[in-house]
Amino acid sequence: MANHKDIVYGIYDDETDLLRAVKVAHDKHIDIMDVYTPFPVHGLDPLLGLSESRLHIAGFVYGMIGTLTAFLGMTWIFTKDWPIIFGGKPHWSFPAFVPIMFELTVLFASIGMVVTFYVINGLGPGVVNPTIDLRLTDDKFCIAFDTHETSKGDAEAFLRSTGASEVHSKTI
């Protein structure tokens, strides 16, 4: 990979230890590169300074695009492109359009959000991300520091003092 990073990371055995350590870092304004956990740990986001995800706003926009596509599409087809009389009903029969408008809203919102989710996370089929530690998807929790932001000595001292069971450094 083009951009190699030198990282120092500590392994914690429990999410309570991890949260406590992240809180210390938050209070002392130590820059954490990232935290890796095997499952979503609640309470982590504000301490890491992560702003709330805006994915749901994107979802709303995609959904509205779906609604409009369905509504405008059916309107154009039945009034302009090929008006057909079905059982003597008006060409533009809005109530009958509602089910398809709803379905396309849901369809566009979910496909759009899922695609956005993978793109902004840099995840996708065939993506290979560097593995920091194989146990991080099992039962270990990790705080990683980029040595360009936090000096190696500071990072190691922090990790040891907050109860990391292991401290390692690595180039990823």
């Binding site: 979503p40 089910p99 496909i111 290979v128």
Partner: protein
């Protein structure tokens, strides 16, 4: 986010699991060679599928004339099967979406398999309209796209076209939801795998790392998908019911159809989830993750939806009579007393009467009975669709067109083929992906694991009895992470961090979400030996606090306090505890102090809010 969990809430993960143990238990089925039961099941399923494919080929080659449909009976087993399969799919989305919005933790044990079931059931369902059109090779005419036929568009006013949109959307959204949930678990399997398997799972896991920001977005995505999948799942069977309800056929043309179809769909779906999960938990040894508590919860849903369906059946009969409309009246008379009476009474027995057994807790928690009833309900819900479709069409407006419809071997073969397809896909799924959502189960361990809640919980937050701790630490292997970090560090004298942490004796009790002001209170609580008094039926967190203030901290102290004294404490306390009667507390506390949890459980079963 601190939430209050009732002290009587049962654990959802048993066996004192650690995080690592959860990974082992749930990921290992994908790593081992299949056992004999799986191979036999797979061979049967694939044989059925092969026969089904043969029957489909037969249908396409010879035409729909190979089915026993005729001029008036235009829908037979095909649409019956279509509605049945679509209905089964609904439980998966209900469990994964609606129960997520309601924060029902028991969903984590069954959501993965239920969602997989949804996807496979929708595939089976979509097959039927596809071949029913006769010329399956031009089935893409369904879809609106600019074409060289005019361009000629489909009829957007037709419920059949709404159905196409509803089902394709439903399938897509279910698949995306399911796969996004699977990605972190595929990463777990990837990190345990070597060689070629590792490559495959790396591809499937999309390069997942477990970064905090990814988890945050993942949770946000799951929540919004759940939010939009909830109206979606309600819309799908509503639209399926429109296929009937917007027609002018007596017996179909009713406004009760949408809610009645949705309730029936959830009902049949939960029956299929139970059928599958009871077998899966046995074969893959998942009893610790899919507990009796899960089964009981699902049986409650079955009871409610089954009863709604029963009310709908009776409402239909009443409205047929009350409307004074003779054709409607004939349709219902014919269902119960006509040539297909056996399917009507089969439906009534399986769907309305049989689930009523679940009013009794004893039956809800009986696995053999649950399995038997789940099969009955699957059959009953198939009968329901058959009753609606076949009995109505076999007796239409013109008596000269009346006939008796029974399927040909081709129609039966295609149905068996979809059963084969469904089970083939499900069996492959159990080998490839973790059947229980690993990450989601881990995230509820601290609140619903049996070492944290329920009668066997280890009170590592309040209880400072060290001999008790040592025992548990050694009994449950080397991974003591889940039992509280301080305990472990205090045991391990050589550990470099122990000194640092010992200076902060309350560290284990500080939960990051709690505001700073509660720290002091935590210290006082941690210094005295105390038990969780909330385990006594009738004592909630407020009363427990009151008793602690009065100097009663352990079960033993409570057992030695007279009822009069307890009443006095309650009377003098702030707050209104008038409705609480402490008469049974001493007896309960005695059992708790002696560690007789089973006896305490039996006693609490008999008590009503702590009263005799």
């Amino acid at each position: 986010m601190s939430s209050y969990d009732s002290a009587i809430r049962e654990p959802l993960i048993t066996g004192h699991k650690t995080y690592h143990q959860i990974t082992e238990d749930l990921a290992s089925p994908t790593e081992k060679a299949p056992n004999a039961a799986w191979i036999i099941g797979f061979l049967i399923s694939v044989s059925l599928l092969a026969f089904g494919l043969f029957c489909i080929a037969w249908t396409i080659w010879h035409g729909i004339g190979t089915w026993n449909l005729n001029r008036t009976i235009g829908w037979g087993w095909d649409i019956t099967n279509f509605v049945w399969w679509i209905g089964i799919g609904h439980a998966g989305t209900l469990i994964s979406a609606i129960l997520l919005l309601f924060r029902q933790k028991w969903r984590t044990g069954v959501n993965r398999a239920a969602e997989a079931m949804t996807i496979f059931a929708v595939i089976c369902a979509a097959l039927f309209p596809g071949i029913h059109v006769g010329r399956a090779w031009v089935v893409f005419y369904f879809f609106p796209y600019p074409n060289t036929r005019g361009p000629l568009w489909p009829n957007f006013n037709s419920p059949l076209l709404w159905d196409l949109f509803a089902i394709s959307t439903y399938f897509t959204v279910s698949l995306l939801f399911w796969y996004t949930g699977l990605v972190p678990d595929f990463a777990t399997v990837r990190d345990r795998a070597k060689g070629f398997r590792r490559k495959i799972y790396n591809f499937l896991s999309f390069g997942w790392t477990g970064s905090a920001k990814h988890w945050q977005r993942w949770e946000s995505l799951s929540l919004v998908l759940a939010g939009i999948a909830t109206p979606l799942v309600l819309s799908v069977h509503t639209i399926v019911s429109f296929d009937f309800a917007t027609s002018v056929i007596p017996g179909w043309h009713t406004t009760i159809f949408p809610p009645y179809f949705v309730a029936g769909a959830i009902f049949s779906g939960f029956a299929m989830v139970l059928t599958l999960m009871l077998v899966t938990r046995k074969i893959l040894n998942l009893e610790d993750y899919i507990t009796i508590e899960h089964i009981e919860s699902m049986n409650k849903v079955i009871l409610v939806t089954g009863t709604i369906v029963g009310v709908a059946y009776l409402t239909e009969l009443f409205i047929a009579w009350y409307s004074g409309y003779v054709y409607e009246q004939f349709a219902f008379f014919n269902r119960a007393m006509g040539p297909y009476w056996w399917s009507y009474f089969g439906m009534m027995f399986c769907n309305v009467l049989s689930p009523q057994l679940f009013w009794w807790k004893k039956f809800r928690r009986n696995i053999a009975l649950t399995f038997f009833l789940s099969i009955l309900i699957n059959i009953g819900m198939w009968f329901e669709r058959f009753v609606i479709i076949a009995t109505t069409l076999a007796r239409d407006y013109i008596p000269s067109s009346w006939s008796y419809y029974s399927p040909t071997w081709v129609e039966i073969g295609i149905f068996l083929g979809t059963l084969g397809l469904f089970f083939t896909l499900y069996l492959i799924f159990t080998r490839v992906a973790p059947v229980v959502a690993i990450a989601e189960v881990k995230s509820i361990l601290k609140s619903s694991g049996d070492q944290y809640c329920g009668p066997n919980a280890i009170h590592h937050h309040d209880d400072h009895d060290h001999s008790h701790h040592d025992h548990d630490v050694h009994a449950h292997g080397d991974d003591t992470a889940a039992l509280g970090a301080t305990t472990m560090l205090a045991d391990d004298q050589g550990h470099e961090e122990s000194l640092q942490l010992d200076q902060n004796p309350t560290a284990e009790a500080i939960v990051m979400d709690e505001p700073e002001t509660t720290k002091e209170e935590t210290i006082t609580r941690a210094e005295v030996k105390s038990d969780d008094l909330k385990k006594i039926e009738g004592i909630g967190p407020k009363i427990a606090e009151t008793l602690n203030l009065a100097g009663i901290n352990t079960f033993e102290e409570l057992a030695n306090t007279s009822t009069e004294r307890l009443q006095e404490i309650l009377d003098n306390a702030e707050g209104n505890f008038g409705g609480n009667s402490p008469e049974s507390w001493a007896r309960q506390a005695k059992l708790a102090a002696e560690g007789r949890w089973d006896d305490l459980n039996d006693l609490q079963e008999k008590l009503d809010g702590g009263k005799y």
